[in-house]
């Protein structure tokens, strides 16, 4: 057999369970389908099982490699709902990109947090309620106790348990934390391989005799190429490959010299480009920050205006309420008049006075109300004006941004020009461009013109323009004066015309509207 597991776990399990045909396993913390896989050796012998792997990249790899097995992209444990995990950004792509990711790790920002559902071990074991489960592996980086706690009352008992019993990346054992839970479910300790502890259930005590010696000659196994135990061999093969490559590199040294020269120029240009773009970017950012600050200030102003408006509205409603009160008082007074006619004579004069006063007051209040209404209207129109003003201001700021962008574009143009120069240099170094080429090109053009096929398909515009002025004498176009519909140069930034606009416009209508529009 070929062993893929990290520490020969598959060999030991194979020794105990090799007699089972098409058995089943549960691999919690399955990780990669090949690399360090405990299950692959069994899979190759027709076993099928269930993998639990919360990392999306590894789970995807498992699904792809083991299409006929079940892959649960979950974490196992006692947590309710979801658990938070960390994954390396960008892993699981090509090897080249993995190396890239490592750089990011050293820069300290390659970790990605992800949230996956957590399920209890009992619910996973439930899948084996009606079948035999021959082995179960738990390798969850120190969370073994939590996994085992979620076994609950499930009656399912794997024949063999394989649990990582050392702290991650260290030989220190940690099985005291959880071993009692294993014993409580009827398991007996069978073997410790330096990394993992093996347990056998009491119903299958006959398997205990298979444990004892470490992996040895009689297990008749070979190691897969990925095993750390053949690292030296891998290096050896790599060295041979590198030697071959060196030989090939020497063979290609002519082109390498050219490439070196080109690379030198490219580097110089890269530096220049970096400097130029840094400068341009810094300018752009500054302008943008200023623009944002000013937009922020404008928004504050708008907010203040709307607050004022609210206050006015409140005042208005207060005044209206006052008016209602006064009218109420008025009617109460009238009631009193009717109910006490005998005292009327004496108090009539006073009452009349009161009435006059109230009427005057209500007139004043109505006036105040009108006043408030007017102020409200003026605030509304101011709001509209400031909306327009802010639109304009924003346009102006965009204009500034546009200028900055133009600067940046100029910088880019400059870079481009330098690139072209580089191309030119490279061309020269390859002995490509010389005067004779020009003559050859001209000859080719002449030939080209003679080809009827080219004529069928190729009156290129640049050709037409050039030839017009030369021997072929294109015809002139004579027109009556045509007034093209044009836009002015400086406009608010968000006023944009497309190439379709002039073709939708009737000249007569345009002239008429233009006459209207001109002050």
């Amino acid at each position: 057999m070929i062993s893929y597991a990290q520490n020969f776990e598959d060999i030991i399990l194979q020794r105990a369970l090799g007699h089972v045909k098409e058995g089943a396993y549960l691999d919690i913390g399955a990780n990669d389908p090949v690399h360090d896989s405990v299950s692959l050796a069994f899979y190759e012998r027709g076993w099928r099982g269930v993998h639990v792997e919360p990392m999306p990249v590894q789970a995807q790899a498992l699904r792809a490699a083991r299409p006929d097995e079940t892959v649960l992209e979950v974490a196992v444990g006692t947590t309710e709902g979801n658990v938070q995990l960390f994954a390396f950004e960008g892993t699981g792509l090509t090897t080249g990109i993995e190396a890239f990711a490592e750089q990011h790790v050293s820069a300290g920002h390659a970790l990605r947090e992800l949230s996956v559902p957590s399920v209890r071990l009992s619910s996973v074991l439930e899948r084996f309620r009606d079948t035999e489960l021959h082995w179960m592996k738990i390798d969850v980086e120190g969370m073994e106790a939590d996994v085992l706690s979620s076994w609950d009352a499930s009656p399912v008992r794997p024949w063999v348990l394989l649990i990582e019993s050392t702290l991650p990346n260290s030989p220190v054992q940690n099985h005291e934390e959880w071993q009692d839970a294993v014993f409580a479910r009827g398991y007996e300790f069978a073997y410790f391989d330096g990394l993992n502890r093996f347990y056998v259930h009491q119903d299958h005590r006959e398997l205990l005799k298979s444990f004892g010696p470490g992996p040895n000659f009689f297990d008749k196994f070979q190691l897969s190429g990925n095993s750390p135990f053949v690292g030296h061999l891998r290096e050896e093969i790599g060295a041979r490959r590198r030697e071959t490559e060196q030989v090939q590199a020497q063979l290609a040294n002519l082109s390498a010299i050219f490439q070196q020269q080109a690379a030198g120029i490219a580097q110089a240009i890269e530096q220049a480009r970096e400097q130029a773009s840094n400068a341009a970017l810094a300018g752009a950012e500054l302008a943008q920050t200023q623009a944002q600050q000013r937009i922020g200030a404008l928004e504050l102003e708008l907010e203040r205006l709307s607050r004022d408006q609210d206050a006015l509205r409140q005042e208005l409603s207060q005044r209206s309420a006052d008016l209602r009160d006064v009218i109420g008082q008025n009617s109460r007074l009238l009631d009193e008049i009717s109910s006490s006619r005998d005292s009327a004579a004496t108090s009539l004069a006073a009452l009349n006075k009161d009435l006059q006063r109230t009427a005057a007051k209500s007139a004043t209040l109505a006036e105040e109300r009108n006043d408030a209404l007017e102020r409200l209207a003026s605030v509304e129109s101011e709001t509209k004006k400031s909306l327009i003003a802010s639109a304009q201001e924003r346009d102006a700021l965009r204009n500034q941004l546009q200028v900055v962008r133009q600067h940046r574009a100029q910088a880019m143009d400059h870079i481009e020009a330098m690139s072209r120069q580089m191309e030119h240099l490279r061309g020269q170094s390859q002995g490509m461009a010389d005067v004779a080429d020009m003559a050859a090109l001209r000859d080719e053009l002449d030939q080209l013109r003679q080809s009827t096929f080219w004529r069928m398909t190729s009156p290129l515009r640049w050709m037409v323009d050039r030839l017009r002025r030369m021997a072929f004498g294109a015809r002139d176009v004579v027109r009556r004066p045509v007034q093209p519909a044009q836009m002015q140069a400086s406009e608010p930034v968000d006023v944009v015309r497309t190439e379709f606009l002039p073709h939708l416009v009737d000249q007569d209508v345009y002239q008429k509207v233009k006459a209207d529009a001109r002050p």
Binding site: V119, Q248, S458, P492, K514, P519
Partner: protein, 987 residues
């Protein structure tokens, strides 16, 4: 009653969502019902491709001359850029546009457009108008769930502003009672009318259609629950899955969940994970993705239950669709769903998985009788909802608004003044404002039908090319003032700058002297106009784009004449710049053309195949018509024989410029074999030396049979050519690629047999010939076999006479062209599954995944010619055939991965590559499955210097694989050529 409707929601992304579908169905009923309503729709020309798309959508619904255009001035979405000057001014321009149309009712069909795009939905900004203003109100879901939809404060501000903007309308049409309640809560002062919604008018027919051809992917004997719709959080599918997990164990094992709706890999993964995490069996989940309406109807009909668990819906179309099929429905007790479903006992609390589970179990465990009752009730209730009903309610609302006559006297002139004032306030230059307002001004369509033919390039300068010969012949056959039988006028037009097309006085158009244009304003095209782009337009296509798209927006059609696709398919035979120019032209022409008229069936089929293979996202009509041939009209009498002596030996003729594409090398090699085999035959070559063919010229001139049995006639007259046709025994034509085959037509007119290379267009044109045989292009042995067979059993004179061909004259050809265009006689069409005006050419030509073909090879490479001398180098011409099932192009993803390129590299004596890098040769456009293109490869002299023994030509899919098998060519013979000149190139 004239009703104007803002059509921008048919242009923006809404066109693919519920709103676009709603407006289209509503418009159909409003416009087509006998209700006295005269519907006008306007589109925003700032979104041109989308405007043309929307015009197509409205075909058969709104009359072409009632679809108008105006042009928005802003570029950005309001959610992104806020209320900019451009947007404020656009609102004013649209108000003027509507005032010009002078409707009784103006409808803002989707008042929340333009958050992320440049749409400017109609809102009255000038106070009272002489007409009434109405908006359709769908829902206020973004406001009610603002944390989800309006998380960004600027977007929320815009949304609220729009919501408050509804106050400017006289009335609102709500799509449900729920929407009606919502509208009242925001704008209590405005009249609101619930007009309801309905299923698509064809839905009924999908339900009744034969479903036997549709595969149902789940087990119909077990209980089934269907969900149809989207998957954002509001749709609440997660709680529905939780509810499945709460079912009793005996049900969990059996109940199947069928999910239909657009879903990407991420959505699929999430649903599957959720399903598994709830302990549900994987094989009971059916994630079907998108299904057509017909398939959807079939699924509705066979499932036991449809669940609509959404947290909030403005209507709830899927529930209604299922009910129309008689499928029991349960739904959330929120939004508009209760009024669609009706029976309160069929509602549940969408926030509670327990309650969803209760409702599902109630249905799934019901007996047959109660199910039948339920199905009948659902069907009965669905009849309450119909578009007829919706349109009637809308018209009633319009009438009630019109009843109290108002007495404002605002006119379109007032709207214009107000727009000009707005422009002044915004500091927009008067001329600019005038330009936009003139575009917003509506005018009647020209009336009648007109055909315009572009002949600009030939008018400016006659290069005597093949295309220009066609242009001149057509223009001379159909003079000015020509009218077709049905009264369509024909005019010739000219364009050489961005001002647009001008009429051309045809008398003297092709004579020397200046071209005179007397018109001072360009032609404005409209409904009833067809523009035929007859001339070669490579130089002007960027100018054409603006003017032709504008013409199409106004209702005109554009037909482009396509002569061939040779520069893209056989780029090795062209000047290196040509494929690039032609490619750019074709992409633009595809955007601005409604139809392509090709000069042969072969070209038409090739275009159809390219468009189909890249899934070009816009429909195109494709036709073909025969070119004319007047050769025989000239008198052939009195022409002296070309040969001085009457030789008894068989005489073969080939006619065409001596250039690589014509395959002269193949013909020469075939005759070398014949002569060395003792055959006494004679070959006459007619044609001048063409582009880049020095090696063939040299081969003819130095041939030992030259001027003995091998003759080359350069610069002969038509009369002499006729004599050759008359005296020869057969015509040989060996081209690798052609758009047409004029020599075959000419030979046929002389009753001569033809031996032609086996390409589609020669097969097609040879149908006119009395006798034709074919050989594989580029294969001298095959041509030799064809000639020997011909010599052994020549066709009888009777056969040849019987097949006297009837080929159209130029006048007939021109009339056929006009008839085909006028009466829409198109032989083919390209009808994409997905019609998308935005993605027109950005994505479709790119390769997006690895090419696979099982264990079979994906490509076949064949050496056609070479190595031969080309400029200072040595060149190979290789034919590449695509054996896979996807198209190939040299455009990959953004990092260049998946692009297919060809490459060439040197091999040493051990057959190992000598360089790591190699020059790449791009595919000019695409290679469609089963098709062949030819590519040229140059052999670097430095490889020869370093001792290369062979060169290897191969295909590579970047970042994926080098493809086997490769093509190896022995180059040891080139070593002498290089060493002589000491390493600076080939001798």
């Amino acid at each position: 009653m004239r009703v104007w409707v803002d059509g921008q929601c048919l242009q923006t992304l809404s066109r693919r969502r519920g709103i676009g579908r709603y407006v289209l169905e509503w418009l159909r009923e409003l416009s087509l019902a006998d209700n006295g309503v005269d519907v006008h729709v306007s589109l925003n020309a700032a979104m041109a491709s989308e405007a043309i798309f929307a015009r197509r959508l409205l075909g058969g619904i709104v009359d072409a001359d009632r679809i108008h255009c105006w042009h928005g001035a802003n570029q950005s979405g309001e959610g992104r850029a806020g209320m900019t000057s451009g947007r404020l001014f656009s609102q004013a321009a649209l108000n003027y546009h509507v005032a010009c149309i002078a409707p009784d009712i103006a409808v803002s069909a989707s008042p929340f457009e333009g958050m992320a795009d440049c749409a400017v939905p109609y809102v009255p900004v000038n106070g009272p108008t002489p007409f009434r203003n109405v908006a359709i109100f769908y829902d206020a879901i973004p406001h009610r769930m603002s944390e989800t939809y309006l998380a960004s404060p600027p977007v929320k501000a815009v949304y609220d502003r729009r919501l408050m903007g509804l106050r400017s309308f006289d009335g609102l049409l709500a799509i449900s009672e729920y929407a009606e309640r919502e509208a009242r809560s925001f704008v209590p002062q405005i009249a609101v009318q619930n007009i309801m919604a309905a299923v698509h008018r064809d839905f009924e027919s999908y339900v009744k259609a034969d479903h036997s051809g549709i595969k149902i992917e789940f087990d119909r004997k077990k209980p089934s629950v269907l969900y149809v719709g989207g998957f954002d959080a509001r749709k609440n599918v997660g709680r529905l899955i939780e509810a499945f997990g709460l079912m009793p164990a005996n049900m969990i094992g059996r109940v199947q969940f069928i999910v239909i709706g657009d879903m990407d890999a991420e959505v699929r993964g999430n649903l599957r994970n959720q399903w598994q995490a709830c302990g549900l069996p994987e094989n009971n989940l059916f994630l079907l993705g998108y299904r057509s309406d017909l398939e959807l109807a079939a699924y509705y009909c066979v499932v036991d239950l449809l669940v609509q668990p959404s947290l909030l819906e403005g209507f709830g179309l899927t529930a209604l669709e299922a009910m129309t099929c008689g499928t029991p429905v349960i739904a959330s007790n929120t939004g508009a769903l209760p009024e669609v479903v009706g029976d309160p006992s069929r509602l549940f609390d969408p926030e509670s998985p327990q309650d969803i589970c209760r409702a599902m179990m109630g249905d799934l465990t019901a007996n047959a009788a109660s199910r039948a009752k339920q199905s009948k009730a659902a069907k009965e209730r669905s009849k309450l909802f119909s578009w007829t009903n919706s349109a009637e309610r809308s018209v009633a609302m319009f009438q009630s608004l019109l009843a109290p006559a108002k007495d404002e006297t605002h006119s379109s002139a007032d709207a214009r003044k107000s727009a000009i004032r707005t422009a002044e306030e915004l500091k927009i230059a008067p001329d600019t404002a005038a330009l936009f307002l003139a575009a917003a001004h509506t005018r009647p369509s020209p009336g009648g039908r007109r055909i315009f033919i572009d002949i600009s390039a030939t008018t400016v300068e006659d290069h005597k090319t093949g295309i220009q010969r066609v242009v001149k012949n057509i223009a001379q056959s159909i003079g000015p003032d020509f009218e077709t039988e049905s009264g369509t006028t024909v005019e010739y037009i000219f364009l050489d700058d961005d001002r647009g097309f001008f009429r051309l006085d045809l008398t003297g158009a092709f004579e020397p002297g200046p071209v005179e244009i007397t018109e001072t304003a360009p032609i404005i095209f409209g409904v009833g106009d067809t523009i035929i782009m007859l001339d070669s337009t490579w130089a002007y296509h960027t100018l054409h784009y603006g003017v032709l798209q504008a013409a199409r927006m106004r209702g005109a059609r554009v037909v482009t004449v396509l002569y061939d696709l040779v520069p893209l398919m056989q780029s090795s035979f062209c000047d290196p710049g040509m494929p690039i120019v032609f490619n750019a032209w074709l992409r633009t022409a595809l955007k601005y053309s409604d139809a392509f008229m090709c000069i042969s069936e072969a070209v038409a089929k090739e275009l159809k195949s390219v468009l189909g293979s890249v899934r070009y996202p816009m429909p195109k009509l494709i036709g073909h018509w025969p070119l004319g041939a007047d050769f025989l009209l000239a008198k052939e009498k009195g022409v002296k024989p070309v040969r001085s002596r009457k030789a008894a030996r068989p005489m073969f003729l080939t006619v065409g410029t001596v250039e690589p594409r014509k395959g002269h090398a193949t013909i020469l090699s075939a005759f070398d074999r014949l002569w060395s085999g003792g055959e006494d035959v004679e070959l006459h070559i007619v044609g001048k030396i063409g582009w880049n063919n020095a090696h063939v010229e040299e081969r003819i001139r130095t041939h030992k049979e030259f001027d003995r049995r091998l003759f080359w006639h350069v610069g002969i007259s038509d009369t002499q050519l006729m004599a050759l046709y008359r005296d020869c025994d057969a015509l040989i034509t060996a081209s690798f690629a052609e758009g047409f085959g004029l020599p075959i037509v000419e030979a046929a007119q002389f009753g001569k047999p033809v031996i032609a290379s086996d390409i589609a267009v020669f097969r097609e044109v040879s149908k006119a010939a009395g006798h034709a045989s074919f050989f594989i292009p580029g294969r001298p042995d095959e041509l030799e076999r064809a000639i020997l067979e011909f010599l052994e059993a020549p066709p009888s004179a009777a056969d040849l006479k019987a097949a006297k061909p009837q080929w159209p004259t130029w006048e007939e050809s021109a009339k056929l062209l006009l008839q085909a265009v006028e009466h829409e006689r198109w032989q083919f069409s390209h009808d994409p599954e997905v019609y998308d005006p935005i993605n027109d050419d950005v994505l479709v030509w790119r390769m997006t995944g690895p090419v696979e073909n099982g264990s079979r090879p994906v490509a076949d490479l064949r050496l056609l010619e070479g190595p031969f001398r080309h400029k200072d180098g040595q060149r190979l011409i290789v034919e590449v055939c695509n054996l896979s099932e996807t198209f190939w192009s040299s455009e990959g993803n953004e990092r260049g991965v998946y692009a297919v390129n060809a490459g060439i590299r040197p091999l040493n004596t051990f057959g190992d590559p000598m360089t790591a890098e190699f020059p790449r040769v791009r595919i000019p456009l695409v290679i469609v499955p089963g098709d062949k293109v030819t590519l040229a490869f140059d052999i670097d002299y430095r490889w020869i210097l370093r001792g290369a023994v062979e060169v290897e030509v191969f295909l590579v899919q970047e970042g994926v694989a080098y493809w086997e098998p490769t093509l190896r060519v022995d180059v040891r013979g080139l070593a002498e050529l290089v060493s002589e000149v000491g390493g600076t190139g080939y001798a």
